[in-house]
């Protein structure tokens, strides 16, 4: 925490309370405070900094140093609304200042034009609530560029023939290539595909007082100890603090938004670190709590006027959840790749971004990346070939041989929105604060499963062309664990089939805005954070314009 931070009283009516400090919340805090507004950011998790980001796999991964804890915040899962949900860990997200951007892979693909207008292009799809966005790629393009330059994305512009248009190149060159990337690139070229350097939200050069990546190898799942990963913590939050108008208040678990007699939000009600209830007053509320917690908060805030959840006149709050389809093929090569060094991904391809349903027999599209995102313990427990010895000399041999020689091809794809797929409140289970737990309901659209199988087949072709000694992939299975949390308060022009308008304002409550993965109308091809951040920059502009013309209540 910097000394520049103001300390507001809960009774001070600040201009904005921003709930959540992740990919979207960080940027909204930075932009709104930068535009002269007084902002309080309420973050349910702790305020950790670089010195806390250790390489201890047990502390970070097994004990959830950075993530939602299954004992404090248990969850349930069911496949369909007809099923009774069972207690099971259903999702993971970053629960700390900086949110999930603190520990993500940092794949920073822009969405393409098609992602915004897919419904018009392909027509209705049975079983899916596919819709066009109320905005286009062209409208969002300047904000993608803003993310690349202000937050820090490395990459090589104009390298992929499938890339959408861009107004500016990347601000810095791509990260160095890994052995997995070279193998991927050579094999893909053999097959006539178009591999290119992965755009990554990780610095390849020192920038804005931050270090370049030191290739420590503890990246996915870990916080960056040198601030090279362009998390909200390392970027937007620090910039927001420097304005002197933004207070970051960690350990503040918001569980209710209340309305006044005129139907306007009055601020946010939260548990502080001692679990005392506090009320932060604000002129307007911006919820950026992620695609699971944002709809949960609205559902928890049900009142007389909105018995089914705040701002839920559409009935769509929590629904149309998309997790992204896809899967991992693991391959072992003759010589050491030493892919444990560095960040996860250095090469990707987008040849399959838009597949022709008439040719492949399903709707969807995706991309492939070459990666190694395993740390030693996780590797030993989960990344050896099926049928390997589980202990003894044979186990030690395969472990010792494979650790440096393994990489993965990750297929990432679309999820079609399905109305029943949702986050909702579990009727029985409660969290440690006594609040209803999150319930995940999910059954992949049949086309998503077909796409996953199709992407596995392409990954297999690629690995074969690369001359791997061994490869394997799990069977295609319906998902029951959520990482990408998309579409649950979707944006749209029609208040009957969407929760927010294109200004991120809820259709129902005039001073309540939502911006995070829940805003997305379609799932893209598997890498949502870049789009969430572009939307956050755009939302900040829209909200600022509304406030400046007096369209936000005082």
């Amino acid at each position: 925490m910097t000394l520049d931070q103001p300390k507001y009283k809960t009774t001070d009516e600040v201009d904005f309370v921003v709930i959540g400090s992740g990919a979207a919340g960080g940027i909204l805090a930075k932009e709104l405070s930068g535009n002269g507004f007084r902002v309080v950011v309420l973050e349910q998790g702790p305020y950790l900094t670089e010195k806390d980001f250790v390489h201890d796999e047990i502390k970070v991964l097994n004990q959830d140093l950075l993530t939602n804890h299954p004992e404090l915040q248990p969850t349930t899962f069911r496949k369909t609304p007809q099923d009774k949900a069972k207690p099971q860990r259903a999702l993971v997200y970053g629960r700390l200042v900086g949110g999930t951007s603190t520990h993500f892979t940092a794949n920073f693909w822009r969405f393409h034009e098609i992602d915004f207008i897919e419904r018009s292009k392909v027509g209705p799809i049975p079983g899916a609530t596919l819709s066009d966005w109320p905005i286009t790629y062209a409208e969002l393009e300047p904000y993608y560029t803003k993310v690349e330059w202000e937050i820090g994305v490395s990459g090589q512009a104009y390298a992929s023939p499938f890339d959408p248009p861009r107004s500016k190149p990347y601000p810095m060159p791509p990260l160095p290539v890994k052995s997995s990337g070279v193998i991927f690139e050579r094999a893909a070229r053999k097959l006539g595909w178009h591999p290119f350097p992965a755009p990554m939200a990780i610095l390849s050069q020192p920038r804005a007082g931050r270090s370049a990546c030191i290739n420590c190898g503890f990246c996915l799942g870990f916080g960056c100890e040198v601030g090279a990963k362009s998390s909200s913590l390392a970027t937007a939050i620090r910039m927001a603090e420097k304005t002197g108008r933004c207070e970051i208040r960690p350990n503040s678990y918001v569980h209710r938004i209340e309305l006044d007699a005129n139907g306007r939000a009055t601020g946010a009600v939260y548990f502080d670190a001692q679990r005392n209830v506090q009320r932060q007053k604000a002129k307007a509320v911006v919820v950026c709590a992620n695609g699971a917690e944002t709809p949960r908060l609205l559902l928890l805030s049900a009142n007389k006027e909105f018995p089914d959840g705040l701002a839920n006149s559409s009935g769509y709050v929590g629904k149309n959840l998309m997790l992204n389809s896809g899967g991992v093929t693991t391959a072992v090569f003759e010589e050491p790749l030493n892919d444990y060094k560095g960040f996860a991904v250095s090469r990707i391809l987008h040849d399959f971004y838009e597949l022709d349903p008439d040719k492949v027999g399903f709707h969807g599209g995706g991309g492939l990346d070459a990666r190694f995102d395993m740390t030693p313990i996780g590797f030993a427990l989960g990344s050896l070939p099926p049928g390997s010895p589980r202990w003894g000399k044979g186990f030690k041999e395969v472990l010792s041989h494979n650790f440096t020689r393994t990489c993965e091809i990750f297929g990432h794809g679309t999820s079609l929105p399905v109305e029943n797929n949702s986050f909702s409140l579990d009727p029985d289970l409660k969290d440690a604060w006594g609040l209803p737990a999150l319930r995940l309901t999910y059954k992949d659209h049949p086309d998503d499963l077909k796409l996953t199988a199709w992407l596995y087949a392409r990954s297999e072709e690629l690995v074969e062309a690369a001359g791997a000694k061994k490869m394997w992939a799990p069977p295609v299975q319906e998902q029951q664990f959520a990482v990408h949390l998309l579409g649950t308060c979707r944006m749209g022009n029609d208040p009957k089939t969407s929760v927010i308008n294109s200004d991120h304002r809820t259709h129902d409550v005039k001073n309540l805005f939502l911006c995070d993965g829940s805003s997305l109308v379609t799932s893209g091809r598997g890498q949502p954070t870049m789009t969430i951040e572009a939307l956050a920059f755009r939302a900040a502009d829209r909200i600022t314009a509304l406030a400046k013309r007096g369209d936000l209540p005082a």
């Binding site: 390489h55 796999e57 420590c216 790749l337 560095g342 003894g392």
Partner: protein, 195 residues
């Protein structure tokens, strides 16, 4: 005769032995012997050299407190298994490595079946003693040696799997990227991206 280094090492280990926080010295010898079969000493160090026993001991009074019972109940069960298979052998650590492997194979199969039975009754599996020791042996062998968990002594576990114990790396990283000439567009793309 011991070399000076080996002597120093042995001294350091006996000092550590005095500092067991959960196990008795006797129990520690048995658990050490089990983990030494899970990751045996071969031409490279194994669980014993990596000090896995100290990691497990620390785990059982810190983050894995809940597993104390599994050890307390599992060790006597294992010893009963030893006497059943080899009536002349008093305890696991006294058996030859080959006998130990045989005991663990039988124990692993037996506890897998027992876990299955427990699972069907309660809906959730309680990990068996052997599975628990296996998990903690792997963790103790490969944990960040700079952590406070006492495992992966001197980083030997990382050495065994080929992970250099450095905090920063520079490219080239591996065999396939060392002669990489730099990214070039596909010849056919060069035309497309110009437009």
């Amino acid at each position: 005769m011991l070399s000076a280094a080996a002597h120093a090492r042995q001294a350091a280990q006996s000092e550590l032995l005095a500092k067991f926080e959960f196990f008795s010295a006797e129990q520690a010898v048995e658990v050490d012997a089990i983990s030494a079969r899970i990751l045996p000493t071969t031409d490279t160090p194994g669980a014993h050299e990596a000090g896995v026993i100290f990691f497990i001991d620390r785990a059982l009074v810190t983050f894995a407190k809940d597993d104390q019972k599994i050890y307390a109940e599992g060790l006597p069960e294992l010893q009963a298994n030893v006497r059943e298979l080899f009536p002349s052998i008093a305890k696991f650590s006294a058996a030859t490595p080959e006998q130990q492997d045989q005991i663990l194979q039988s124990f692993d199969a037996r506890s897998a079946a027992a876990t299955g039975a427990r699972q069907s009754r309660r809906g959730a599996a309680t990990p068996s003693f052997f599975e628990t020791v296996r998990l903690y042996t792997i963790m103790g062998f490969l944990i960040d040696p700079d952590s406070d968990k006492r495992g992966n002594l001197d980083g030997v576990g990382w050495k065994v799997i080929g992970r250099e114990r450095e905090h920063m790396f520079q490219p080239p990283f591996g065999y396939y990227d060392k002669d990489y000439p730099g990214w070039q567009p596909n010849p056919s793309d060069a035309e497309k991206t110009k437009s």
